[in-house]
Homo-oligomer: 709 residues x 2
């Protein structure tokens, strides 16, 4: 039995209700509910609109009901009464068989313990009755397709809603409205926009899921503050991927302070960003850092689909602007296309022979052709035809016939069929140009920065990813159930690694000095001698490690020294570890941990001093195969050292990839028992000579029922 | 004798001419010159306007002259005729005693060799006659203070020009116009805006210099493509610094591609950005990467002066927006203020006790006070009073009484007297809000990104710098004149370092095997043995270095080996170097070179493998004193290692600083003979144990007359 009743109404029905009830309905458009009713009429919502107000008979020409119980059947009711009155009204709605209540009211979990109690009360009511809730503390939703704007904001005061194929879900009502307004201004349309607020019942994932299945939505934008259920989110981004729908996500709480702001706002914990980032990267989600860029990227994906391989072609009548944009693109790692010889040849038709490079300075047209727009447009056409050009960017500065010039250039870009974008550098003087570009359907941005950041995100979108192969992340080996819970000492941790075929140092646990000497002779001098203790984490710093012991005498002296230190630091500890000396090679750090939201993750980074200097760590959700491990490894800053830096030999990259892949399998197999595993350092030898885990530790969590995360 | 005639007219007079002649004058405002005349009248230029046109008697109510020779005295003439006709017209102007010609015409150096010849011709004419030129290939200039807009662009089609204290100079006319228009839209005014184009005579530095002395200009914005004379630019940024005028610079050509774009546009070479950056940092110049941000920062500096120590206070009615902005500020290293206990205490007056943190979620006001604007404004006032808050940022989302709310919040911020800025998150729905903010004088931006990048640049401006002390950069030691020109071998380079007190390894140049053994015994085994050659740069890779030779036998074998290799690689070389072994310690790289624009610079960075992995190098203009050297060193990524990383001992930072400062003095003293010097590695030992240059090389340039750069 689940603790959530089956929904009486689907998300699809909530977005396409047959009837909408408006509580507190009014003829006065300066009132909240007056505006809601007005916007429903204005934008042509064809369902039934049912005003609820005990003091009215007719509102905006519609029969008004005193109580919801008197009204005809209601799919969705919208409510913005003071928080303490909400539960009673919801009970009336549930009794009346309302499918879903959309609660604008604030004063719930976001304002402290009292509000949180109120929110628990309505969540419970929803679970018990099956009546769905959106909100509280949201600003409603907008279904552009059926003209149903369930929000009272003035941004709806427009002649018509632009239809589009972009779906947008956010926790923040303010962001929904800002985004809607900005997008409207530049002619970008949506299918649906939803603000989910405190998510007392329906949450971001529920609407996200609907949009994956919704044929009217081609691109999905998510603004995520906290994630309630990382696993479900992960499943959904993978489903979206398999469905071929690009997802663009803006995550708040990337920084500690942003995280704090998210917490105080949504009363939900923001997850750890790097894991979120790794999950998104694996599933091909485009991550952005602000809502303006999110919408611009979504529009490019909806309009032009995925970008192809290649580089940007940048054209402007101003070489000065070209220089600035080219610098910014370089900063953002967005490559400019190198024009092919044939393109340069054909460009000679319209450009001075000294000016055949990308970025293209349209000011350097052949003067004998006249400064006509047709000549400039021809340059755009020729450059766009270069197969190495994957997008055309035009930076429009003021010019005498600004609208006509912009129209000619924009139309040539649009006609090429390639993704195109226009950066408008001046302000209001270009308002006519903006209108022209909207008319011809050429996307634009009002900042150099809009263009650069949009391109950085858009060109990062790749239409294939490892998700297609849907790695199996179910725990395997029952044999791991013998592991003891808690901190594993170095030899135990290494034994666990060795079970998965990860090479570890030859070593032996010993209890007495002569046993140590015998072990060293078996392993071969020189050796290292280490204390075995779960009390001291940094054993070297504590004087519990002696290295490069060349003979039995040195070993004996080291034995005495470590025993003395150990007697102080961990008196019950009675074993030491004799270990082969490994030296040289590159040091990496490998690790695994269980993220509370996303399950097992592995990490790899530079070891030794580099790890803390550079914070040079790459993460991936486990499991990963060796090829994926190698791809991850390429992101580590020490990669050039692995490839063979300045004439030094190539190191054993396949062995590193294998070890990381094996560790990821171990992490999955440990299931909920995975606390964390660190291999530091993993020594990487030259090609063909493998790797060896020189030190390791692990924490094993207690068994829980939750075996499959 | 200088090759430039004394100017007959100053830059000040060019900006404040008594008379302006317009070539090709017309009554038709659709024509270029018709608009120029119209704008001069529209914006109230009070000087004489003199139309020149052989086919007219009267233009726009003014007596028109057929030829410049017939006209009364002209301070500034503006010309936009085809390039090939320009020289003849300029000759007429010079003959008529015109003070300065402003040449809009393009088709000069920016379009290739033919245009370059034309440009040389007019430069020569200017030098010969003393008639000053602005342009060609510019879009004119605007002096807001006397209403003299010498540009034909439609951006002048405004009721009035906003007066301000920001001066702006750029090579690019398009950028001047775009910036003017954007700034006008948000109510930001200028003193002067100048586009200098190809700089055939007057250049960016000339107008920059004028603005430093101009009492009407408080903040100077420069968009720099190529720099003609780095030394003059350096002198000017230092002069501006001493005059207390903030300078904000946008440099094109930071990236290779931007550099390319700049070159093709301005026909002048872009300098190497890192040296430019170091020079600007030293002189307190704020570097930005796009023109929109430049103007926003300039406005903050003109309006509020330099920022004080502290952090940003961020307030918004939307916690969602707060989260996004807080993340972006963290990415940009702009600190948020931590509110003092007293501020939190006083905030309780209006905010819920759970919501007393920065960023402040204005949605969490105490509900019993009502959602009035006065309550929200009180929160702004209380937060602004916190002494740790150095700027107030308000992110305005849509709200029912949007203008009134925005006015209340903005006015409270302005009234606090602290720097303040408003981020407007929606689009056109906020147009009324924009008008309100302009009215109350609260700066605003239309993107989250505008605010974040403005704050990152503004808060980086520090009102003091090392320029105040004006280091003496004149070469000193005549004794360096004995140096031979060309590549210095390791022992010669080290001898040069040693003259300046930079510690080098104990070593001796030897010619025979027994001499080597004697040297090694004097130095003390173990030693290193290296070939002395100027033919092989990477001696280790070539097998010309043997390390850790423990005794005479080992030394003897190494001798034979190196002699054999040397006989192949550099047969004439007949000396080897016996050197003390230095090991352990941290490796840094030190260097000096002569920048063609800015003179001697020094660099310091991580050595060993880190140098190429991280490209971790910090630059400064020489000379620097030890304190400045230490400040530079803090910017090196390896700094934590020097400070004593993870319990390891602190290294000898004063010795590094001393060595770098000494190297900078050597670089200055070498004057034009400085080619480059590399010390790699400099071995840094633990505190008190000094540093030692383990390897070094140098290139000494031939003597030239130019001794003082």
């Amino acid at each position: 039995m689940t603790d959530r009743a089956s929904p009486r109404i689907t998300v699809d029905r909530i977005l396409h209700p047959a009837s909408v009830a408006v509580f507190g309905a009014s003829d006065d458009r300066s009132k909240w509910a007056g505006r809601i009713m007005y916007y429903l009429a204005l934008h042509g919502y064809a369902g039934e609109v049912i005003p609820i107000n005990p003091r009215r008979q007719i509102v905006q020409g519609k029969t008004c009901y005193a109580r919801i119980a008197d009204a005809p059947h209601v799919d969705v009711a919208i409510i913005a009464i003071p928080a303490p009155l909400v539960p009673a009204t919801l009970r009336e709605c549930a009794d009346a068989g309302v499918g879903c209540c959309l609660i604008i009211s604030s004063g719930f979990a976001e304002v402290g313990p009292e509000g949180a109690a109120l929110q628990r009360e309505i969540s419970e009511l929803s679970r018990r009755t099956g009546m769905r809730l959106v909100g509280p503390n949201c600003l409603g939703l907008i279904n552009v397709l059926n003209g149903m704007a369930l929000t009272s904001a003035r941004v709806l005061e427009v002649e018509r809603l632009h239809r589009g194929r972009i779906g947008f879900v956010t926790q923040s009502g303010a962001i929904m409205l800002s985004i809607f307004n900005r997008a409207h201004d530049v002619g970008i349309g949506f299918s649906h926009l939803v603000s989910v607020g405190n998510q007392a019942d329906l949450d971001l994932a529920d609407f996200f899921e609907h949009m994956i299945d919704d044929p009217a939505t081609a691109v999905i934008c998510l603004h995520v503050e906290g994630l309630r259920d990382g696993r479900r989110f992960l499943d959904l981004i993978r489903r979206a991927r398999r469905a071929g729908k690009p997802v663009i996500a803006l995550k708040t709480g990337r920084s500690e302070l942003g995280e704090h702001a998210a917490r105080s706002h949504t009363a939900s914990l923001a997850g750890a960003y790097p894991v979120f980032e790794a999950a998104c990267r694996d599933a091909g989600v485009v991550l952005v850092d602000d809502p303006d860029v999110m919408v611009l990227v979504a529009n490019m994906l909806a309009r032009f689909g995925a970008p192809t391989e290649g580089g940007i072609a940048l054209l402007s009548p101003s070489g000065g602007i070209n220089g600035i944009v080219a610098d910014r693109l370089a900063d953002a790692n967005v490559p400019l296309a190198v024009l092919r010889p044939e393109t340069r040849q054909s460009l000679c038709e319209v450009m001075l022979p000294t000016h055949l490079d990308n970025p293209v300075d349209l000011g350097a047209r052949r003067q004998e052709l006249g400064e006509t727009n047709a000549v400039a447009a021809r340059a755009v056409e020729l450059v766009a035809a270069d197969p190495g050009v994957n997008a055309i960017v035009i930076a429009l500065t003021t010019s005498p016939n600004y609208e006509a010039t912009s129209k000619a250039l924009g139309a040539a870009a649009v006609a090429s069929g390639k993704p195109c974008f226009t950066i408008i550098t001046p302000g209001s003087v270009a308002d006519g140009v903006r209108a022209v570009l909207r008319e011809i359907g050429c996307p634009y941005g009002d900042r150099i920065d809009d263009g650069v950041r949009m391109l950085a995100a858009y060109t990062r979108y790749v239409p294939t990813s490892r998700v297609a192969r849907a790695p199996d992340a179910k725990p395997g080996r029952a044999s791991l159930l013998d592991l003891r819970t808690g901190y594993l000492t170095e030899p135990d941790a290494k034994a666990l690694l060795a079970r998965y075929g990860i090479p570890v140092t030859r070593e032996r646990v010993v209890r007495a000095r002569d046993e140590a000497v015998a072990a060293a002779e078996a392993i071969g001098f020189p050796v290292a001698l280490k204390a075995v203790t779960d009390k001291v984490v940094h054993k070297s710093d504590a004087g519990l490690v002696e290295l490069a012991l060349a003979d039995p005498d040195a070993l004996g002296r080291a034995w005495d020294k470590i025993r003395r230190r150990l007697a102080i630091l961990d008196p019950p500890a009675d074993t030491l570890l004799v270990q082969e000396m490994v030296s040289g090679g590159l040091e990496l750090i490998l690790g695994a941990k269980r993220d509370p939201g996303f399950g097992p993750v592995v990490m790899i980074g530079s070891g030794g001093i580099l790890v803390e200097l550079l914070r040079d760590v790459q993460l991936a959700l486990a499991p990963i195969d060796p090829a994926e491990a190698e791809a991850l490894l390429r992101g580590v800053k020490a990669w050039p050292l692995l490839e063979g830096y300045r004439g030094r030999g190539r190191l054993d990259i396949p062995a590193v990839a294998s070890a990381l892949s094996r560790l990821s399998r171990l992490a999955v197999d440990l299931g909920s028992r995975l606390g964390e595993i660190d291999v530091n350092p993993l020594i990487v030898r030259t090609d063909g000579h493998g790797v060896v885990a020189a030190d390791a530790r692990a924490v094993i969590a207690p068994e829980t029922q939750d075996q499959d995360l």
